[in-house]
């Protein structure tokens, strides 16, 4: 090796080394600021406790829009604006009762709630026998003869042996989403679905259901039952297959109403037309206050831009935060944002979503091509000191999905998932279930990833 080559290698190592050090220092700054003077936790306190549950189309969702806009404006961003869209409006109503009837005058209430999008029962409720199934195959095998005039009780648990809780959710959630449509075609009067929850407790978990192309006059009411309630109903059915179930729901679907995505941005100093999006969804289900789903993602995304401003770091590319409306029951916000971006020929290079709870971050998941992912994987060591260095390929996030094309990289924050379904869509998804540090660590990890994408590009 002659001297000139040696010198070049020396220079190169030196450059790489000092660059790496500067990146590490920047990331350390983000973490220190997030953990010692972070704003995510206070924001979430307000969103959860002063606003609360904010289902699309509700007055509370509009309060959340106003709050989000006001808070982003207070950050001194280059631009804050609302993006108008229409959202579904479904209202839970006042009465939700479920009861197991074992004989005349002998009944036992069990915790139930309407699934989002369900129609109501008749005002006097529905009373009928119950057939229990664990899969759609079992349902089909029973056939119309055994199902007609009855409640179908979908009691397939989330499989406990799967390590990723989201995998267990994926395997079971079809019962909630499409169970009513399947059962209605066999003449069922209603469906009762075991809550999507890995533990045994007394809370029913709501969530979206769809009738698909089922004609209006064939639609049937759909309720979730708590996991303990499901165990009870199942064991009582084993003793008395002729018991009856009583269900009363008075939820209602209304015509679409207007709502908004809330958007804020810092203009890029070098490549302002290259856009990096970070976001979560502002709407939530109505039973809790949506602290984990997805208040956490909202305040973490806002914190990303606040940290850039606070540390006075001017990004090369435009960094945009989007508080998406209507992820839970329509995805209208994500769709509207992507349509508008396409119409305006905006170039999005990266979108990051946080919508998996406010728990300890363990890494990120990416939708990227081989070359992009190789570059991303080279950044893992930056996250190793923060225990957030698990980078994998997989599905990123619902709201950013409509942005998908051949060039953009999509990503999702991956917090620890074990406790997520203890709270998901239930009345206990509240601020007290959030740990301040875990929330802040997620915000800092997201900021660091956005920073690296902005700095290095793909």
């Amino acid at each position: 090796m002659d001297f000139k080559i040696l010198f070049c290698v020396f220079l190169l190592s030196f450059t790489l080394y000092s660059q790496s050090t500067s990146q590490e220092q920047q990331i350390k700054l983000f973490y220190e600021q997030a953990l010692t003077e972070g704003k995510a936790y206070d924001w979430l306190d307000h969103l959860s406790n002063k606003i609360g549950g904010r289902l699309s189309g509700s007055l509370n969702a509009e309060r959340a829009v106003e709050w989000g806009k006001k808070e982003l404006e207070a950050l001194g961003l280059d631009r804050v604006y609302l993006q108008k869209l229409m959202v579904p409006k479904w209202v839970r109503g006042t009465f939700e009762y479920g009861s197991i009837i074992t004989g005349p005058g002998m009944s036992m209430n069990v915790p139930v709630c309407a699934l989002g999008g369900s129609i109501a029962t008749p005002a006097i409720g529905l009373r009928a026998g119950v057939v229990e199934v664990k899969t759609f195959e079992e349902l089909e095998a029973l056939g119309e003869e055994k199902v007609k005039g009855k409640f179908v009780f979908f009691n397939g648990p989330m499989p406990a042996n799967l390590i990723h809780a989201f995998d267990a959710y994926s395997q079971a959630v079809n019962q909630r989403s499409n169970g009513a449509a399947k059962a209605a075609r066999l003449g069922a009067l209603g469906v009762i679905v075991r809550s999507m929850n890995l533990r045994l407790d007394d809370l029913p978990h709501t969530g979206n259901m769809r009738y698909g192309n089922l004609p209006n006059n064939m639609r049937i009411p759909a309720a979730a039952i708590s996991t303990n309630g499901a165990q009870l109903l199942s064991s009582m059915l084993a003793l008395n297959k002729d018991l009856k179930f009583y269900l009363k729901l008075d939820c209602k679907n209304f015509p679409d109403v207007p709502s908004h995505n809330v958007i804020g941005e810092i203009k890029g100093s070098e490549y302002p037309d290259e856009i990096i999006v970070v976001g979560g969804h502002l709407d939530s289900w109505d039973l809790g206050d949506g602290a984990h789903d997805d208040g956490a993602g909202i305040v973490q995304s806002m914190e990303v831009l606040r940290l850039f401003k606070k540390i006075n770091y001017r990004p090369k590319r435009t960094i945009r935060v989007v508080l998406y409306m209507n992820e839970e029951n329509g995805l209208r916000g994500g769709t509207a944002y992507a349509n508008e971006a396409k119409k305006n020929k905006e170039q999005h290079i990266f979108a990051l979503e946080s919508d998996a709870g406010g728990f300890t971050p363990r890494g990120f998941i990416f939708e990227a091509n081989k070359q992009q992912f190789e570059k991303i994987e080279s950044w893992e060591p930056y996250f190793e000191p923060y225990l957030a260095d698990r980078f994998e390929l997989g599905g990123s996030g619902a709201d950013i999905g409509p942005l998908r094309n051949d060039e953009i990289v999509l990503s999702g924050l991956r917090p620890d998932s074990q406790r997520y379904f203890d709270y998901h869509h239930a009345a206990n998804d509240t601020f007290d279930a959030i740990n301040k540090r875990e929330l802040e660590l997620g915000a800092a990890a997201m900021t660091s990833l956005v920073y690296l994408v902005d700095f290095f590009g793909f």
Copy 2:
């Protein structure tokens, strides 16, 4: 490459491949069994709710010994026995009061508790002025003149910017352990120590303190104050440096009493003299029921042996579970076990402890030499599907520490640490703070590691 070499390579790959597959399958079996038919959670329910807090020397600690022995006997192990030892006995007593006095008749109670090992105040309590410090250096700088006749208020928080919560604990805990001895030498009347807790709440956290070689007549009472209480006291001191603090404690140290380690073992089929130990500590502090510290470690360790039996896997080496007594305030159990092992010339090749809470496991920490650790690191891929593949070098566990020598490998389960100090040594360290799956994942990870050590050796 000639045919013979090619064939050998083929055979070798085949052997490696099928071996790996068989290891993977065995580990999968452990996980499936732990997650679907595990016993750790039920055991912990009993230990926490039917027995409760079990400070060394208490009647409850003896109930825990009896329970542990009975449960291990029910597993059909090859041997279950008690190991006698003497333990310190400290009793909290009935009265614990702390109050900030800002003027005649004007006082405000704050949550305090005696630190373990502290002497009592006089029966009428102590009333004195307060000097606040954040470090021992600040204390020394104040000197005897400013400290004499006062309470020293140690208010150094666990540093929030450190990522590993245990690192933050290490930086602050000296105030609790040695603050009283330091302050007493400067003539202080008592010490009030900010609780070792990363969040702000109203629970005082106890824990061990030591007077060291301080003469009996110089010893002073030591109490913890909740983090909110510490913030309050500090801000009131900023307005009125002459305020007084009132403290009343009636805790008491008694002479040592007898207690036991509980030990069970499965004899090795090939190398019965090579011993693998897995354990946690059976004693706990007295404020909560010790579910995280260290009920979780106890039931996870018991579950390791249960899983071996349940799956009918006969280990090559002897696997021993040790429920250590007296980790919290003396380490007598760990010391007695190691002394006995030395006396009997037992060969311990591996010791694993779980004493960092029942949260989602993220990996293990090891005390091992280079060659041993290289082998251990080659096992990381087995744990990758279970998200427990972070293997690092570092301090393993207190109870197994006395076994340390040049040959043994020591290891500690490393669960997520972010929430641990929300509960550590406080009244909320109770069963409801445990997530069943997280606890079970820890037990399965421990079983898998013990299995690999047994199968491959070092």
